[in-house]
Symmetry: C2
Subunit: 324 residues, 2 copies
């Protein structure tokens, strides 16, 4: 008989829940707005509804579900199944694993979204053929997850691989974490948006503002990329700067992890034509030859499915290692 | 019957070989100058002599030795047992494992010295009670080794944990590896010596030069420490700067590895009273609370024995994991 798994990709704006088989095929999915503004109970009720919806669509009873995985932004207390905090959700210390297990009687596992995505790319994406890899997501922030000998490297209290919050220049910009000069403050969607806004304010670029319909709040990495592609030199320089610092970060990853593969994902990678060459050039200048000689760098393959596939990979963890 | 192991601490100036029992007690040891200037064959012959000497002292035949470990500076090709290069030794691509195995018919394992030291501190030193730790040696350079779930984390080609060569400020000083702003270029014995020499040249400190007998070449971290302890403000500032950058590096280690323990060793730690408080303060400012809350930082416990104990730990690796 087939084994079934559930995955919940829990985001600040949407909840995406899917049912997968033992091979990682998605058999059914359900999506709802998180409606964070309506409070904790409402969000949890929305989670319940997506699960019920998926089971109904697929015609599968809860008794046939082997495990359920949740991918969520941190900080998390994974051991105790608690979402400690989430800046996009209206809650603190939510015992999400207990809540789900009590409702559906399905073994439930919580994992942070970057680690979940790393697992998904390892088992179903660009990392299929390797045992040692580092996944970096370059989106609003920068998150990371590392797979060592097929297993997630979680650290002693499940907080390892915060590569976005390693300092690469103590005199750098203020980061959301309170430090100065984290990789995230130099090479994320947020930092591209910050640099683009600064360029507009200092009159170095009109096109960026124009493409944002004259609205400073609409300036983001996508707008800046559009400006760069339309020939705006300042916008192009912003991506070149981003590539330089990302390259420093990648070089550090190579020298620390000596991985077989680095997988790069996240929304900002849609503009990778504008910064990736630079990043790889700087990485090659910075990292040690002995590690570079065995390294591959690939783009993530799972695209928009990565959140859900990550949650499913978390649910399937034990099976994947056993079979893979 | 007891199990016996041999360890060879292979350095640029001395070779230290020891015989240990299954509990890591050193039963006999032999030390010789490496005599690197006399060439490869001579060095290898010196290694042979220390092994023969140790066996003779202990009255043990080679047949009773379970394994032999070698701790050596890199770069190494561990899989094939080759010392690729060593700036302090007159050789390139020395098949050291094959050479030793052919001579003594003992199973031989090569490991880089920082990893070997990490293993030694894990099994016999400050890390005795933990499963996840990072060892940093702060000496002329900065080396690192990481133990995850009791096992050495080696990376895909045994070059992981080059923490000394992670960039913490791309505008920083030139490092021996060719990059700018590696941790090693900011917080090692070499960098202390460089800063102390600069201070003397720019007339900011007379005492440093005085304590070096007026000889610029004698200015090193120990001389600078002596000056700082005698009240030289510039020397004290050099150590404070060192502490600042070491703290940045430690914060990055915490955010990446989320270890249970960081062990700090190496010669420069003899002056830890002059920089460690600062380093820990900066680390606490920089690292994420979730990881700091489970972290301990300890000084290495094995002192001058660490090289030999490291080589023995490499030889005993399998036994240690099985029993411990």
């Amino acid at each position: 008989m087939s084994e079934y798994y559930l995955g919940i990709d829990l985001g600040g704006t949407k909840i995406l829940t899917g049912l997968g088989d033992g091979e990682g095929n998605i058999l059914a999915s359900s999506r709802r707005d998180t409606q964070a503004e309506m409070g904790e109970k409402h969000v949890i009720n929305n989670i319940f509804k997506t699960v019920e919806d998926v089971l109904k669509k697929a015609g599968i009873a809860t008794g046939h579900i082997k495990a359920l995985g949740i991918g969520s932004p941190g900080p998390l207390d994974i051991k105790n199944g608690i979402i400690v905090e989430n800046s996009n959700l209206p809650w603190k210390k939510v015992h999400i694993v207990e809540i789900i297990e009590n409702k559906f009687n399905i073994k439930t596992v919580l994992e942070n979204d970057a680690n979940a995505a790393a697992l998904a790319e390892k088992w179903f994406g660009a990392g299929r053929d390797v045992d040692d890899m580092v996944y970096l997501t370059i989106s609003t922030g920068i998150g990371g997850g590392s797979v060592i000998k097929k297993e997630l490297f979680s650290g002693y209290s499940n907080n390892a691989c915060e590569i976005g919050h390693t300092v690469i220049d103590p005199n750098g910009p203020l980061c959301g974490c309170g430090n100065h000069g984290c990789l995230e403050s130099f090479a994320s969607g947020k930092s591209i948006s910050r640099m683009a806004k600064e360029a507009v304010k200092s009159k170095q670029s009109d096109l960026i503002l124009e493409l944002a319909d004259g609205d400073m709040d609409k300036i983001d990495a996508a707008v800046c990329a559009e400006a760069a592609r339309k020939g705006d030199k300042t916008a192009a320089e912003i991506f070149s700067t981003t590539g330089f610092y990302l390259g420093i970060g990648l070089g550090n990853v190579v020298n620390i992890f000596n991985p077989q593969l680095i997988v790069l994902g996240g929304g900002v990678m849609k503009a990778s034509d504008l910064f990736l060459d630079k990043a790889l050039e700087v990485m090659h200048q910075n990292a040690l030859d002995a590690s570079l000689s065995v390294l591959e760098v690939k783009k993530a393959e799972l695209g928009d499915k990565i959140g859900l596939m990550g949650a499913l990979a978390v649910a399937m963890k034990e099976r994947l290692i056993k079979n893979g």
